[in-house]
Amino acid sequence: MEHPILFISLILEALGLPVPHGPVGDTLLSKLCAPYMTYTWLIMALLIILPKITMGKTEMVPGSGQNFWEACVGGLEGFMAEHMGEKRAAMMFPMIATFAFYILPANMMGLIPGFMSPTSSLNITLAMTLIVWVTHHFLGLKYHGIKYINHFTGPMWWLMPLMLPIEIISNIARILSLSIRLFGNIMAKETLLAILFMLVGAFFGPLPILCLGVLVSVVQTMVFVLLSTLYCAGAMEHAH
């Protein structure tokens, strides 16, 4: 189910670029012109331009714009420091804050007619999840070396043949659950909104779903950030 109107795709089509009408295009150029790519670039541009405009030069006594961004960044860092400690939070902050600042506008963007959430494509969420998954194993290997396998062998050595496949399955399931949760929630919101706009758009039918969409966007952002923080913190802790 594709969106009725996507204004970036319309502009690109008017410019003569090949915009794919299925989920993915066949040539490289049409892959780059897929809606989820173009809207990702829109969000990247917004994230670069918006702080530049609102913040200006950083000052000792912050103005309203700088105050807002300081509250965002400070709140996020405090939230992470609760789970993994000050030092590790400062180390992991760039990656996880990037996810937070990208996912929130990406989720919210689908609420505006003519826009689409890039996170309603499995490609985007799976890419982010794989980054988190590889990073938390890398951190585990970096902090524990070969002893990282103690995280997977369970509490007692004679339970190891049973616990090892179970822990590995549970760990691989993290990729599936983290990516499909974000994708499924946002895609459901998008599809529902598109259908309601077509059916009862004249009678403000999508309005309650728009309100719920804001809630879903915020909650899913929080869940993604919280779970990636917990996974990284769990990999750095000692095995119990």
């Binding site: 179970i166 399955i169 399931a173 599936l176 869940v223 919280l226």
Partner: protein, 66 residues
């Protein structure tokens, strides 16, 4: 709010565990051993997957830090 978002993820994680277990067993049976062991690895790894899902529930119920 934090607890809601953690425990709201239990369902999908349990089902993901089951599907990963099933997929691993299916791969072992049909690709690695060329259909010689057909039902067994699928069933055993399906059992592992279900057990992994319930172990996730158990560890979540044991946590006291939030």
């Amino acid at each position: 709010m934090k607890m809601v978002s953690i425990f709201g993820t239990v369902g999908i994680h349990v089902s993901a565990c089951v599907f990963i277990g099933l997929g691993m067993g299916y791969y072992l049976d049909h690709k690695l051993f060329k259909d010689k062991t057909t039902p067994w690895f699928t069933l055993i790894f399906l059992g592992f997957g279900i057990f992994a899902g319930f172990k996730h529930l158990y560890t979540l119920s044991k946590r006291k830090d939030f």
